[in-house]
């Protein structure tokens, strides 16, 4: 037995340190690609335990990879260099709402959806809504800076964090930010840590900003014969003084996939669908709904649905939720990207995606949060088909290039992790990437904090094939 494992086993209770092969394999994956076997899994439940693990790992120079519930789509919790997986999912959930300050203080293992359930009791809302919110932990959301459909109006995770408590790679507890909205004392380390994918430390507590829960909602669905028209309808709506909480897009392939999977009454001959949600005061959204309907009509929507009842609205959003499972029926392996472009470039990006689809002869389906330019091009393929996977690798590279060329980014909300690391320089330039690397090196002198992520190794390429 390695000396550091022995040390772990003697300091923690037996059921907190997992070293059996079956257990190690059970923490070797996430929702993305590949499996990497850790040497040990430590299930931490207190701040002191995290400090202990980090101090020890730093002494032995053992890699540590923090993990929530492993729903990540970019490989954040994969222990690519072995060592320790630090499981925070079993940390007792603690949500302390301070309604007068419009904040909540939470422990890292709290499920994101349960924060909302708790703050709703006070008429408040925590807006970020990744679709995995009922499974994922807030710790994971913070590390990855998760988004969600409501990002259009409310922004993403980082916009709702005002303070953090963090264990550094050297095992020190630091506090960043605080409990106030305004705070300009020193560097904004809070924002630096959010989205750093566990490469700068382990988040052990967060102070979240809340907003009043909107009293009413209204859904609309608009049907288009041309993708380009739907793109223009988005721009027109957003420049008319209306900010919907969600504007979701589905292309023809995703509409048809849903109808084949669980018929929901979507128009299968449509080229594109927009699903819109307005929230706010009931009188205000009534007026806004009329205006949005008018805009959609003017821009050539061939049909507009404005459900009067909640169930009918829920049915529309249910259909949107079915896209992921529905397209999984096409082929077993899903390569889910989240390249994001400025809103005005959505139509252009759609055209480029169409060309890439033809060039590489791949099953490419596009849906996503069109209102904020965050598309989800999904490539459906089969891991076991080597030829196909090579084509997919090339196509992914071109999708990234297309997004960057249009002034966009590699990743809107999923993160870089292992898969997108080879493309970082393309977007940031070598000097930009180098500055990031220097920050990382000074925070983590021994390179033990989630190594192998975000920063490409020399000559690293995207590989989706089975070794």
């Amino acid at each position: 037995m390695k000396e550091w494992i022995y040390e772990l086993k003697t300091t923690f209770s037996a059921n907190q340190v997992l070293t059996e092969l079956a257990d190690r394999y059970s923490y070797s994956f996430d929702g993305s690609f590949g499996e990497y076997l850790p040497d040990a899994v430590v299930q931490v439940k207190t701040k002191e335990e995290v400090v202990h693990v980090m101090k020890m790992a730093n002494r032995y120079k053992v890699p540590v990879t923090p993990r929530g519930q492993g729903t990540c789509l970019s490989g954040g919790p994969l222990p690519v260099k072995g060592g320790i997986v630090l499981d925070t999912s079993q940390w007792p959930a603690n949500i302390k709402v301070i309604p007068d300050d419009l904040i909540a203080v939470v422990s890292p293992g709290v499920l994101t959806a349960s924060i909302n359930q708790e703050v709703e009791k006070f008429g408040l809302m925590y807006p970020p809504d990744p679709s995995s919110a009922h499974v994922s932990t807030i710790g994971g959301n913070l590390a990855e800076n998760s988004g969600g459909p409501r990002g259009l109006k409310y922004g993403v995770t980082k916009d709702y964090v005002i303070g953090l408590e963090l264990v550094t790679p050297e095992g020190e507890i630091i506090k960043t930010g605080g409990r106030t909205i305004k705070n300009v004392t020193g560097f904004d380390l809070t924002k630096l840590v959010i989205g750093s994918e566990g490469t700068l430390g382990v988040i052990i507590e967060a102070t979240l900003k809340l907003v009043p829960k909107p009293p009413a909602m209204q859904t609309l669905m608009a049907v288009f014969d041309e993708v380009e028209l739907s793109g223009r309808a988005i721009s027109k709506t957003l420049t008319s003084g209306i900010l919907p909480s969600k504007m979701e897009f589905m292309d023809q392939a995703s509409i048809q996939a849903v109808e084949n999977y669980k018929p929901s009454g979507l128009p299968v001959d449509a080229a594109a669908l927009l699903m819109i949600e307005l929230d706010g005061h009931p009188e205000a959204i009534k007026a806004e709904a009329v205006q949005v309907e008018k805009i959609m009509k003017e821009l050539g929507a061939k049909d507009i649905v404005v459900p009067k009842k909640e169930e009918a609205a829920a049915k529309i959003w249910q259909a949107r939720k079915q896209v992921s499972p529905a397209i999984a029926k096409i082929k077993p392996t899903k390569v889910s990207e989240d390249a994001t472009v400025p809103r005005s470039k959505i139509a252009e990006m759609m055209e480029k995606l169409e060309l890439i689809k033809e060039k590489y002869n791949i099953e490419l389906i596009v849906f996503g949060h069109a209102g904020d330019g965050n598309l989800h091009p999904n490539i459906m393929c089969d891991k076991r088909d080597e030829d196909e996977m090579i084509r997919v690798e090339q196509a992914v590279g071109e999708i990234f290039q297309a997004a960057v060329d249009l002034g966009g980014t590699l990743s809107g909300e999923h993160g870089i992790g292992t898969m997108k690391a080879p493309f970082m320089e393309q977007e940031l330039g070598s000097a930009g990437l180098d500055m990031m690397k220097r920050i990382k090196d000074s925070w983590d002198p021994n390179g033990i904090m989630n190594p192998g992520k975000m920063f490409p190794e020399r000559g690293q390429k995207l590989v989706l094939r089975h070794e």
């Binding site: 059996e20 092969l21 059970s26 929702g31 995995s132 499974v135 499972p325």
Partner: protein
Amino acid sequence: MNDLKALQEKLQYDKTFDCVQCGYCLPACPTYETMEKETHSPRGRINLVKMAAEGKASLEDLEEPIEKCLGCMACTTVCPTNVQYGAILEGVKETLEDNKEKTKRSEKTEEFLFRSFFPSSRWMNRLGNATWLYQATGLQKVARSLRLTAMSPLHLGEFEKVIPSQPSPFVRKKRMQRVEPEGTPAAKIAFFTGCVMDSVFFEINQQTIELMKRSGAEVILPEHQTCCGALHAHSGKVGLSKELAMENIKAFEDENIDYIVNNAGGCGARLIEYNHLFEEGTEWHRRAKAFTEKVKDISEVLVKLDGLKFSAPVEKLVTYQPSCHMTNVQRVTKPPRQLIEQVPGVKLREMNNPDFCCGSAGVYNIVNYDDSMEILNKKMEAVNKTNPEVIVTTNPGCLLQMKLGVEREGKSGEVQALHLVELLMEAFPRPKSSIGKGSVCDLGIGK
């Protein structure tokens, strides 16, 4: 290499690729909740099967995680990509079973249990009779006071306390094989009696028959029916399970039957999937399909017949513990609740997370006693919050487990655990058609 190919086929390796590891199954899995690690989650188990099929882990590594799975199938209900977890689980159980080296003795015991005991109505009746003898002669009291039963390693003592009183062998023997309603039958029903239901819960079976009769149906009990084979399949004995399925398909092959009705969620789940046991396009697949199309839970058929009028109120607060296999395999969730609400006086109060397994899971509570009790504790927490007078279930395993839960909480005086059928009978149901016509013959059962 060829060995690995064969292993992959046996382990349903291809089916593991349907899992995209999104983790949506985690919050639904009772063992992930109580055992607190991925190894005991659906996603973790599927990944381990994959690792074993790729030769990266051994079959021994799989044993514990697979053995600890309840098979409640709650993961399949929430899975966004429709992973066939049931098929994967059965595949790996069969593989492990074939791989296991067994001592002669345990092999003999198992051979007896699965080949003769469960499938044999003679043995099951004897169990019922022995239980009756045991209770009627006062042996039970003696055994309890001597703590004999508490010493048994299988914790059978715990279960023994909650087994209901048994009817005498005479009552068992005189049961009719055909029961006709007053007037023209609204449907012809073949009743699947089940092994545990027909022995330990014989009385509930009688009440079930009575309810169908009063709903206007003609009920027959096909003579050559046997065990549904669920317990066999869950223990990796797929071949045996298939033999039993074929016997049942034959026994119920009568074109005049409208429904094949059962009152045990676990059996129903097996019966309704008989067609999965045979290759599509074969004669047996066709026969199995004809069988499964008629399979209904008692609650479904009572709602459908809509022939009962309850004549006495039951002023009780009820909570409903659905059988996992009713919810996740048969997908029958509304009819039992509809029936509970039809009973005058009853107030139904749903518990938090009712779809969370109670930990009974076939013979899981006997084989994995401690793990099962952890799960039961969680369940009882939710049950207690509703402060019920009655816990209603629809499966013998759940019923025993809920009785055990009540007993462990020291509430046997205040809280009853009942099968849905028992609750319905408490409200003196009468045939709608004969209301006002005077007395109803009730064969002397279901007081």
